[in-house]
Amino acid sequence: MAWASLKQREAPNLLRRRVGWSFMLFTLLFAPIVARLWYLQVLRGEEMRLLAENNRVRLHRVQATRGTVVDRYGRVVIDSRPSFDAVFVPEDAGDLSLTIENLASVLGVSSAELRHLVERRGTRPFQEVLVKRDLSFEEVAAIETHQWDLPGVSLQITPRRSYPHGPLLAHLTGYVGEVGPEELQRDSSYRMGDMVGKIGLERAWESFLRGTDGGQQVEVDSLGRRLKVLREVAEVPGHTVRLTIDLDLQQAAHRALGERDGSVVAIDARNGEILAMVSHPSFDPNWFARGIRPQEWRALVSDRSRPLMNRAIQGVYPPGSTFKFIVAAAALEEGVINPFTTVFCPGGLSFGNRYFRCWRKGGHGRVNVHEALVQSCDTFFYQVAQRLGVDVIAVYARKFGLGLPTGIALEHERSGTIPDTAWKQRRFRQPWYAGETLSVAIGQGYVTATPLQMANAIAMMATGRRFRPRFVLQVESPEGDVVQREDAEEIARLELRPTTLKQIRDALHDVVATERGTGKKARLRGVAVAGKTGTSQVVKLGKERSKTTRLPRHHRDHAWFVAYAPADDPEIAVAAIVEHADGGGGQVAAPLVRELLQEYFALKEEREKRSYAQN
């Protein structure tokens, strides 16, 4: 053997001796094991046998109550209420099929369904099967009275999410639903059947709202009934989230919009707090919290008016004439016009082989920038746009935050579109045509924006500052201590000459304040309102703009109004859009905004009076 010739080295005595010691040590170390076994099996054996056989110790999870959500004045927006669930431990049932029969008749479900539930559960024995959620009072009573026929069945109190205002704030709050497989994989602290935030605030603030589950070591008898709690880790309820929303104002906005499709957004122009955010049509988040039925879900997703869409951040609409204040600001700032530059409006403008109409058939006559904004003269802006060019308009639009996400902490926000030559090249691989600039000048063509973006833009016009819109004021512990404050976050400042700002602001004021103004229906007693109307075309029409009421509904124009008030010391900025309205922005959207602003100032006065009375 070749390797046998390898030099063998005789083991030295030192090695032998030490191996011997080690073996002795190993042998001695068996003694503590025997001692430990003696202690457990012989000395304490009886006690342990009793523990193992007569009583069983089980782990029972105590679900944390999800945090509440309140409006800025502490009124409940989302709550949790206790509900009874029926749970079943098959191992405790004794005669399994008999118990299932009994349970089925008590709960009024089919026994096949129950059997399926029992078989479907995991392999872990003694794991509770959730038989039915949210029992009615009658069902609870029935289970209580038939306890002896239902071994292994017990009632469990679990907090259930409730949205007392239903559809009012649904798009903002989102909803909870049963935890999905991906969420289970990602976070091991979730269990099958847990409710988690699926969308909106519920999802974005999940970590604060959730709380920490507690648990109990429970001693149960042979029928699985709880004898006593041995040890307990208390649950920690979730934090309270305080919204920036004023529930009264939200309701007012909701009322003002009524049954019409559209969106209303009101923000505090001084800090970006969202005071109201309505999107209609809406849905009832309670459906999701209790487990949405298939037919309800089908109805929601197949509805052509898309109730699940949050129009305030996901609805992209051509801003129409509301866009003009931005074009006007660009023109004044770039010096292509001055306040005295006038344009003659005969009711439209020929450009190339096309005739671009002004909304007023007879024309506005000779107008300067002030009058062009007040009366919303299209022809003036066609002229100005040619001098500016689309790329400059785009730069200014972006200064106002259009074409960019606002950064609101909600998922799936859309940015809208601010076109320029580079964008068109990228998107369509085509050059920009000068005629398209004319459409852009009046907020048509490729230009789109969301209501929230427009509210943000008009707020920036009012204050010169743009903030990230927020809907959460702060997070509070259940004891009321502030855990996290969401501070105002300024995103940009408007670097325009004071004269430009004053020109535009004066014009926006006169849009509402003068009889010629298109927004006069937003006028309010006692408070000066500044704003801009818009009527955005949905489809390109023939030679003449027809009376909107004669068109099929989905071809009718959208009615816009953006505003801020008070004009001299802006507090609140509003953007409202009514889809496919019965009239233009001045007819439909301006009165709506007026109603909202009236409510805002009435509430403010009331609150001031009350605090005056208290002091």
Binding site: M1, A2, W3, A4, L6, K7, Q8, R9, E10, A11, P12, N13, L14, L15, R16, R18, V19, G20, S22, F23, F26, T27, L29, F30, P32, I33, V34, R36, L37, W38, L40, Q41, V42, R44, G45, E46, E47, M48, R49, L51, A52, E53, R56, V57, R58, L59, R124, P125, F126, G215, Q216, Q217, L230, R231, E232, V233
Partner: protein, 367 residues
């Protein structure tokens, strides 16, 4: 060269083989009991364990055909291969319960850390065997030998597999000590280890930290591991004198442990066989220890002695740690009970280890 010499058969250590066979049998029966359900006596886990046991016995037979002295020359290769496999784990390893410990080859998954234990022992034996003498080891040799073990231990710790890392390090320490490490060095190393503890602590995963804390104060985590340890104790204790009988254990069916057929199999065994049965099992292990001792003291060469000693230390450290852990006398670190715990890699490595001891024993006159 593979012809079986008559002398080899004559010197074969039959009692050692008998001890091995008895332990393997006890292991299979316990795995069967720990995994059976009311509906199915034979679980897929048991079948897999049975297949692994057969594979292990065949592998042991193959080990017997070769002279263990070959490992002197090829020990370093085993060591390098095991390191490469360990390094592959973080990249291609299968993730099970938060730890990446398994590699999958041709549909068979195994734990490179188990293989690394044996490879480290072979490496240390071949490194040390021509450096031993009647005098103590010089410190450079001792340090280098320990370093050889620290490298795989760190890789294993990272997986994370605290138990196996501890076993590798303590086996290495035992071997270097046997080879002539000064006792003062051992004392010094233990003392030096204390300042390193905070570092090691931070290297541990949160669940490992919890387990260690929980051992110090079981009340801290009454819903997690505290519950498991309490239930394991109840399982062992409720076995009383003679146990509840095979298949009549109740505690393990509560699923008090995530690993009732692996690391906590001793609790199942002690519940079903009681104090008497557990003592018989201990006696069986002691008998194995005794036969191992016979085998290695008969070896004349330093390599055989060191190799055999390393393997024996590995098996017995695991037995001690595992049993004390199941009985709630040591923190829960994942260490398998040799021959009993479910798990192919562990079974294979321990059986091959005994194969090497048989090999050493039967070739003792082959100089």
């Amino acid at each position: 060269m593979l012809k079986i010499d008559r002398r080899l058969v004559a010197h074969f250590d039959w009692p050692l083989l008998l001890a091995l066979v008895l332990l393997l049998g006890a292991g299979l029966v316990t795995v069967l009991s720990a995994t059976h359900t009311n509906e199915h006596l034979i679980s897929s886990l048991f079948l897999r364990q049975l297949i692994w046991a057969c594979v292990a016995v065949v592998a042991m037979g193959i080990v017997l055909l070769f002279d263990y002295n070959m490992l002197k020359r090829w020990g370093w290769l085993c060591y390098v291969v095991s390191l490469v496999l360990l390094l592959a784990v973080p990249f291609w390893g299968l993730k099970v319960a938060g730890a990446r410990r398994w590699l999958s080859l041709f549909g068979v998954s195994f734990q490179p850390s188990e293989l690394a234990k044996l490879a480290a022992i072979v490496m240390l034996a071949s490194f040390l065997h021509h450096r031993v003498s009647e005098r103590l080891l010089d410190w450079k040799t001792a340090m280098f030998a320990l370093l050889l073990a620290v490298i795989p231990a760190l890789l294993i710790l990272k997986q994370p597999d605290l138990g196996t890392a501890v076993v590798v390090l303590s086996v290495a320490l035992a071997m270097v000590f046997a080879a002539g490490l000064s006792v003062w060095w051992v004392v010094g190393a233990v003392l030096a280890a204390f300042p390193l503890l905070p570092y090691v602590w931070h290297q541990l995963k949160p669940y490992q930290q919890r387990r260690l804390l929980m051992f110090l104060d079981p009340e801290q985590d009454p819903l997690g591991h505290g519950y498991h340890v309490i239930q394991a104790k109840i399982a062992i204790g409720s076995g009383m004198w003679t146990g509840k009988g095979l298949f009549h254990g109740t505690q393990y069916r509560l699923n008090f442990l995530p690993e009732q057929h692996t690391d906590f199999i001793f609790a199942v065994f002690a519940e079903e066989w009681g104090f008497v049965g557990a003592c018989v099992l201990l006696a069986l292990y002691l008998f194995l220890l005794y036969r191992c001792w016979i085998a290695i003291t008969r070896a004349r060469d330093a390599f055989g002695l060191l190799l055999g000693f390393g393997i024996t230390s590995m098996i017995f450290m695991q037995v001690l740690i595992n049993m004390l852990m199941a009985a709630g006398a040591l923190p829960v670190v994942g260490v398998t009970l040799p021959f009993l715990s479910y798990g192919g890699s562990s079974l294979l490595v321990c059986t091959i280890g005994v194969g090497l001891l048989l090999n050493i024993s039967m070739r003792r006159f082959m100089f």
